[in-house]
Each structure stands twice: as structure tokens, then as C-alpha cells.
């Protein structure tokens, strides 16, 4: 029974593929996987928009959507209908073709990236030898989409927003990849499926997840901060700052193209969170040995929802950064920290296991964190605030 529930989608897919004629089976299998990814994550997108609006409402002391359906749970449906029926306005001076292609260039790579994330036992749509590399490679195309959207709109706010977004994405891609390198070193593989397998088993009741090591914890925090910046979410949402850039590179998008941008952004968030779960939080493994009977895909999505909840919480809590603070954080703090973390992960690999290894690695990580923080804060003396222009 447990086994059946765990593999129910895999069995279902094999059963459906059996109906296709012989030569078409690989193609049909691929189409089924893609359909499953789109269906599952688009549903999750609808649920997340509702949760986000409700959660932000709760944090900001208001109700949030509560008119459509009981307690407002049909709000995503209403939003979808609205996006579909709205007029699609294209600026007169816009570059029509590029303007049209940009949202597609955002959504397609993100769907490709979701293909390598194992959402359950035997449930990675694409199990390649270089899965993590594939993830980062297709993720690189999103920057191009942002530029296309910003440039083709012929709007200075759009272009400014696009340039900000690209600068931010390139800066935070470095710590994102470097913090993932530690896991690749520890697992000895670039395949997402192998990495999840390497985190199986328990030490007593404590799972063998990489997040429960000194370098893993530091790597996970670095990874999630960089992921927040990569997906342009608050507090790193400068490229879309409503108050400064009237929503940045998608100012000139309306109707379903705007909805596609919105979808792409959220799918990107799911993809990068899914990779974070795969790399650091043990993928689809249960957190306690006694909970193995819960299907593996349920664990993956439970972890994903917890991370999304954390993202909503952060968005409701932290104010937006300034541009120079944003760049300073990426290059002066996160990059050196990620490099130190790679060194610590190498040390962890070669030191004999035990209390000594734990203390040496913890001291190195915490020491680097404190030292970098002191060095960066050292020059600035907090004093009376001086306004250069306002007075």
C-alpha cells in the first residue's frame, strides 16, 4: 500500500504510455512528463498567489482577498479570467516581435529547469548526468528575456528596470552557483537524483541532510538569499520597484503577457526552491525515520510549501534594499563567504569524522561570518542621519 501510493504517478504514467504505439512511446512519455510538470506547478502557482495575498494581508493587518468563493479561495480563478479577457496593449513604438517573444523566453527555460528537479522517488522527468549544470544553464536564458522585455518596450523605466534586473541576476548567480558547488563536492555528482540518494539514511533520528552540517547550513542560507535575489523577490525587488520604476521591465505588458511574466517568475521561484530542497534538504526523503510511509512526492511538496511560506514571510517583513547595498551584499559579503564555505566543505570531506571535524568547520564558518561582517560594518559609524538633498 505504502509502495503503491509512493509510486502512484510513475505507475499511472507507465500505464498510459502502454497505450501508445511502439515507436511513439518515448515521445509520448516525454509529453506526459511535461504535461505533469505544467499541471502540478501551475496549480501550485495558483495556490501560492492566493496564499501570498492572504499571508501578506495577515502580516499587514488587513483581510486580503475574501470576496470570490468561500474565504476568497476562488480568487486565482477570477485573476486568470481577468488576465485572459483584458485588452492586450502594445506600445506604438515598441519592437513588436521582441515584445511578443520575451514572456515566452522567460517561461520556457523555467519549465525546462523544473524537469531536472526530482519531486519524488523515481520522479525526475529528466535524469541526466549533469542535472545541476543543466539547471543553471537554462536559468541563464531568463536574463535575456528580461533584457528583451525591457528593451523592446521603448520605455525608459522598462529599460532601467531591465538593466537593474540583469545586474542583480548576474551578481547573485555567482554566490548561487558557488554555494551549490559544496554539495556537488560532497555528493561527488552533478546529477540531482544522485545528490538526493547521497542524503538518504539517518544518524539515529537525525536525517543525513547536507543542511545539518556547518558548511551545509551556511551554504543553504547563502543559496536561499541568492535565490530570493535571482527571482527578484522582496527585499531584492528593486528591478520591479513600483514606487521607483512603475514595475520595471514589465511596465508595458498587459493582459495575458503580464500573467505569463508573473507565472514565469513564480515557476522560477519554485524551480530554485526545488533545487535548494534537492541540494540541502534531502529532496524527497522524510525528515524522521518513522515517517517513511508518507509518499515521497508529498514530502517534496511539503518542503516546497514551507520554503514558499518563508518567502512570503520575508516579503511581508523586510524593506527593500538600496542598489549599492544590493551589490555590496553580493560581492563583498556573499562571494567571499561562499568561497570560504567551499574550502570548509573540502576540509569536511578529508578530516576524520567526529567532534573535532564539527568544531573546526563550525569555527571556520562562524569566524568567517563574524570577520566579514565586522570588516564591512567597520568603516561606517552609525550617527546622526544627514540628508544631502532633502534639506
Amino acid at each position: 500500500m505504502v509502495e503503491t501510493m509512493d509510486q502512484i504517478f510513475v505507475t499511472l504514467k507507465h500505464w498510459l504510455v502502454g497505450f501508445a504505439p511502439g515507436q511513439c512511446q518515448p515521445l509520448f512519455s516525454a509529453v506526459l512528463s511535461v504535461a505533469a510538470i505544467i499541471l502540478a506547478f501551475a496549480t501550485l502557482f495558483a495556490v501560492t498567489t492566493l496564499l501570498e495575498r492572504k499571508g501578506l494581508g495577515r502580516i499587514q493587518n488587513r483581510y486580503g482577498p475574501n470576496r470570490v468563493g468561500p474565504c476568497g479561495i476562488l480568487q486565482p480563478l477570477a485573476d486568470g479570467v481577468k488576465a485572459l479577457t483584458k485588452e492586450d496593449v502594445i506600445p506604438d513604438t515598441a519592437d513588436k516581435v521582441v515584445h511578443f517573444i520575451a514572456p515566452l523566453v522567460l517561461v520556457m527555460p523555467v519549465l525546462l529547469a523544473l524537469a531536472v528537479v526530482p519531486v519524488g522517488r523515481n520522479m525526475a522527468a529528466l535524469d541526466t548526468d549533469a542535472g545541476v549544470l543543466f539547471f543553471f544553464a537554462v536559468g541563464a536564458a531568463t536574463e535575456l528575456s528580461v533584457f528583451m522585455a525591457g528593451w523592446s518596450s521603448r520605455n525608459k523605466y522598462s529599460l532601467l528596470g531591465a538593466l537593474r534586473a540583469i545586474a542583480q541576476m548576474i551578481s547573485y548567480e555567482v554566490p548561487l552557483i558557488l554555494s551549490a558547488v559544496t554539495v556537488i563536492m560532497a555528493a561527488g555528482s552533478l546529477s540531482a537524483v544522485r545528490i538526493v540518494e547521497a542524503q538518504s539514511g539517518y544518524w539515529g533520528v537525525i536525517p543525513n541532510w547536507y543542511v545539518l552540517t556547518p558548511w551545509g547550513l551556511a551554504g543553504f542560507i547563502l543559496f536561499m538569499v541568492a535565490a530570493t535575489a535571482e527571482s527578484n523577490r522582496s527585499p531584492f525587488d528593486l528591478p520591479e520597484g513600483e514606487s521607483e520604476l512603475i514595475a520595471g521591465y514589465y511596465t508595458e505588458y498587459s493582459g495575458f503577457k503580464f500573467a505569463l511574466f508573473f507565472l514565469g517568475e513564480y515557476l522560477g521561484l519554485f524551480a530554485v526552491s526545488g533545487l535548494g530542497i534537492t541540494l540541502f534538504l534531502g529532496g524527497w526523503h522524510a525528515p524522521l525515520p518513522g515517517l517513511d510511509w508518507v509518499p515521497s512526492w508529498l514530502w517534496f511538496f511539503a518542503k516546497l510549501l514551507v520554503i514558499i511560506a518563508a518567502f512570503i514571510w520575508v516579503r511581508g517583513t523586510l524593506p527593500r534594499l538600496r542598489m549599492d547595498q544590493l551589490m555590496g551584499l553580493a560581492w563583498k559579503f556573499m562571494l567571499p563567504m561562499a568561497l570560504v564555505n567551499i574550502f570548509v566543505a573540502g576540509l569536511w570531506r578529508f578530516l576524520p569524522g567526529g567532534v573535532g571535524r564539527w568544531s573546526v568547520c563550525s569555527i571556520l564558518v562562524v569566524g568567517a561570518y563574524l570577520l566579514l561582517g565586522r570588516l564591512l560594518a567597520g568603516r561606517k559609524q552609525p550617527g546622526k542621519r544627514v540628508y544631502r538633498y532633502a534639506e
Partner: protein, 166 residues
């Protein structure tokens, strides 16, 4: 020649021609990205996963943005008024044809493709990594040093400019 190869080859060649002949520089850059993507697809089709993904990561992720920024920073992205052909296009075509002739002559007369082609070895990313960290560690380190030097140089140039403007 298989159907996927034909599609990829056609896309790559068509986008390369578009990259040379379109009037707007940004359009040229964007079609050039399509060419890079087509090359990556060709590598993937040949089973060279690592090279294909590295091609996407480096060319679509970094070089594309570099080209686009260079266009935006150096000149207006409006199409120029001049003719799209340079005055000396005959010479250019001649040189290109000459280079193509020499290269194809050398390749066709090479001994490497004269015999029976061996099936390609089943390379994994792990083997490439082992080779890079073992046999080829010195070239890797030298390239790393060179890139670090270039990075520091770029930072110094940027810093100097900032100081001068104050």
C-alpha cells in the same frame, strides 16, 4: 542526416544569416544568441552534455549580456542610416571564401576522418572533472590566474575612472 539535425542546422544557419544582415544591432545580437543556442543543441545531439551545457551557460548567460550591454553603452541602439553593406564587401566575401576553401580542403584530406570512425566513448561529466583536476590541472590553474588578473584589471580601470570624475 536525421530530422532533428536538419531542424537544428537550419535554425542555426538561418539565425547566423539574420545576425549578419539585420539592420538593428540589438536584433543582430538576439539572433546571434539563437545561433549560440543552436550550436549548444548540436553539441547535445552529439552526446557532449558538458560542452553543450557550458556553451549555454557561458554564451547565452554571460557573452550575450556582455554584447547587449556593450551595444547599449557605446552607441544608440537605433538602426544606422548607412547602407548595410560595407564598401569593401567584395574583398570580405573573397577572404571568407578563401578561408572556407582552405579549411574544408584540410579537413577533407585529414587522416582523422579517412578511416572508419570509431564509436565515441561514453564520457561522463565525472571523467571530464577527473581529467581537469588530474592531468590538466596546470592549464586550468593558469587560466584561472589569467582570468583573476583580468578581473582585477577591469576593477582597477573602473575605479580609476570614478576617482577622476569626482
Amino acid at each position: 542526416m536525421t530530422v532533428p539535425f536538419a531542424i537544428i542546422a537550419f535554425l542555426t544557419l538561418a539565425s547566423a544569416v539574420a545576425a549578419m544582415s539585420l539592420r538593428n544591432l540589438v536584433h543582430c545580437a538576439l539572433t546571434l544568441m539563437l545561433t549560440f543556442a543552436g550550436l549548444a543543441a548540436l553539441y547535445l545531439q552529439l552526446g557532449a552534455q558538458f560542452v553543450g551545457f557550458a556553451q549555454i551557460l557561458v554564451y547565452l548567460g554571460a557573452v550575450a549580456i556582455l554584447i547587449v550591454f556593450a551595444i547599449l553603452l557605446t552607441r544608440a541602439s537605433e538602426p544606422p542610416r548607412r547602407s548595410r553593406f560595407s564598401a569593401t564587401w567584395v574583398v570580405g566575401v573573397g577572404i571568407a571564401a578563401g578561408v572556407f576553401g582552405v579549411l574544408s580542403g584540410v579537413i577533407l584530406s585529414s587522416r582523422a576522418i579517412a578511416g572508419v570512425l570509431r564509436p565515441p566513448p561514453d564520457l561522463t561529466v565525472r571523467q571530464i572533472g577527473d581529467q581537469l583536476m588530474g592531468k590538466y590541472v596546470l592549464p586550468l590553474e593558469v587560466i584561472g590566474l589569467l582570468l583573476t588578473a583580468a578581473l582585477i584589471g577591469a576593477a582597477i580601470i573602473a575605479m580609476h575612472e570614478q576617482r577622476g570624475s569626482k
